[in-house]
Structure formats: C-alpha cells, structure tokens
C-alpha cells in the first residue's frame, strides 16, 4: 500500500480522518484547557495571599 493509498482510505478519507482529526483536536484543546485552568487557580491563590499580607 502506497502512502497516497493509505491517506485515501479507500475513498473514505474525509470520514476516517475527520473522525480521528477532530478527536485529536478535542484531546489537545482539553489538555490546554486543564493546564490553563491550573495556571489561573495558582494565580488566584497567589493574588489572595498577597492581598492578605497587605492587611
């Protein structure tokens, strides 16, 4: 099987790669989001502590 044949998926390229492509995208976005959420959570704890120290 050639590379072109592989990517063509017997004519079902759109359906097969559309499935796996979107799945990969969902995973990547979710990983970015949980990491971002962690950054924000840490930042807020820091901000609160700094505000507390000023009192």
């Amino acid at each position: 099987m050639s590379v072109a044949e592989f990517f063509n998926m017997g004519g079902y390229a759109f359906y097969v790669w559309g499935s796996y492509g979107v799945t990969l995208l969902v995973f990547v976005v979710e990983i970015l989001m949980v990491n971002h959420k962690r950054k924000i959570a840490l930042q807020e704890v820091r901000m609160m502590r700094e505000a507390g120290e000023e009192l």
């Binding site: 359906y15 097969v16 499935s19 969902v26 979710e30 949980v34 962690r38 840490l42």
Partner: protein, 244 residues
C-alpha cells in the same frame, strides 16, 4: 499494618497524591494510543463489507464506552458526596463531567461521520443515537447546574441529584440496540464471543485503555485546580511549594 483509607479523602492530602499520579496515567495513555492506532491502521485488515471506513470503530466504540462509564463514575462520586457529605467526592464528580461530555461528543461526531457513508445519513432519531445525545445533554445539565449555584456545597448537592436521576439513561443507551429495532447495529463484542478479527479487537481494546488512562490523567489535573479554587483560604494551600 493499619492503613488509613480515609487519609486521601481529604482534599489536602489528595491534592499531592493526584499530582504524583498524573504522569502514571498520562504517559501510558500516549503510548497506548500510539500502539492502538498502529494496530488499527497497519495491522487490522480491511473490512469485507465496509472497506476502510470501518476503521472509525477504533475510536467510536472506546469513546462511546468511556462516555457511559465516566457518567456512572461521576454519578457514583456525586452520590458519595451527597450521602457522606465528603467534599472531595463532589469535586471528583465535577472534574469528570467535562471529560465525559467530550467523550460523548466524540462518540456522536465519529458516529455521524461513520453513518453518512454507511447509512446515507449523518443523523437518524434512532434509540441508540438519541439516548447518547441525551447523555451529552445530561453532562451539559450537570455542568451548567453546578456552575449556576454560588454556594459550592449546595451546587454539589443539586448537581448530584441530577447526575443520579440521569444515570437511568446509561442502561437505556446500552440496551437500546436490543430493546428497539435500531438502525445502529448491535454489540460487536458480546460475552458469548465476537465475530471480529483478533487485530481489530486488540486495536479497540488498547485504544479503550488509552482513553481511560487519558480520562483519569485529565480529571486528576482538573480536580487539583478545583481543590485549589475551593480551599483557597486554607492554611495548607497557602503553604504549597508551587504558590511561592
């Protein structure tokens, strides 16, 4: 040796444990995905009826199983939180909801892309598809209800009730292909054996394991942020190394 099983039911102790556990799930998840995809695309033979299009199964089935499994785990944690008033259980339920919703979405999305070439339709209002769509809406409902109530403990209780009531939908999804005459095919993997080629089974099983480990890793990272958010005013949070 007496083990204190309740030690890790406190958010303060679980926070550290969860952080240590993440790589033990994230790394195997990535490796298993690679193996699963390799078997699915290069080892598993082409399907006699559906041609190459059937390869969607290697993500469609694991994502669908995970969407139902995670819902039950989420409802289980929510119920524990409701019954025993344990904060961490409710936080785990909240952490699992977005990942469960994403798996339900992947299940529907890959199903649509598989349905179009095989059935000639992206979507049909068949019992299997409709009940899976309801599952996605239950996840949305859980997330939205939790977010709409300011007091986190009250939000936990209200969302828990929704999660528990909604769990009746999971067996409905599972048995829908038996109870109703659906366009969606019946179970490929049965307790009595399967008609699938061994490499197809392996690809599906390995990807399922990868999806499960991915879900655990992501939920653990998410629950740590939820713990930080909700325990912000406590002494132990302000003493964390990563805050300095």
């Amino acid at each position: 040796m007496a083990i204190n099983w309740f030690k890790y039911s406190a958010p303060s102790t679980f926070y550290g444990l969860a952080g240590k556990l993440v790589p033990f799930f994230a790394i195997p998840a990535a490796v298993l995905f690679a193996i699963g995809m390799y078997i699915g695309f290069f080892v598993a033979p082409v399907d006699a009826v559906q041609g190459e299009a059937y390869r969607i199964i290697f993500i469609h089935v694991p994502a669908s199983i995970l969407s139902m499994f995670l819902y039950l785990i989420m409802a289980g944690y929510a119920a524990l939180g409701l019954i025993f008033n344990t904060r961490l259980s409710s936080m785990m339920a909240t952490a699992l909801a977005p990942t469960g919703a994403l798996f339900a979405f992947i299940s529907l999305w890959t199903g649509a892309l598989w349905g179009k070439p095989m059935w000639g339709a992206w979507w049909v209002w068949d019992a299997r598809l409709t009940s899976e769509l309801i599952l996605l809406f239950l996840y949305f409902g859980f997330i939205a209800l939790h977010a709409s109530i300011d007091d986190p403990r009250r939000a936990d209780r209200a969302a828990a009730l929704l999660a528990i009531v909604g769990s009746v939908n999971v067996p409905i999804i599972y048995f829908s292909v038996k109870w109703w005459n659906t366009l969606h095919q019946g179970s490929t993997i049965k307790f009595t054996g399967t008609s699938m080629h061994i490499a197809m089974q392996q690809a599906m099983f390995v990807t399922l394991l990868a999806c499960w480990m991915y879900a655990v890793a992501v939920a653990l990272v998410r629950v740590r942020s939820i713990i930080l958010d909700r325990e912000r005013t406590t002494q132990w949070v302000s003493e964390l190394k990563e805050i300095a």
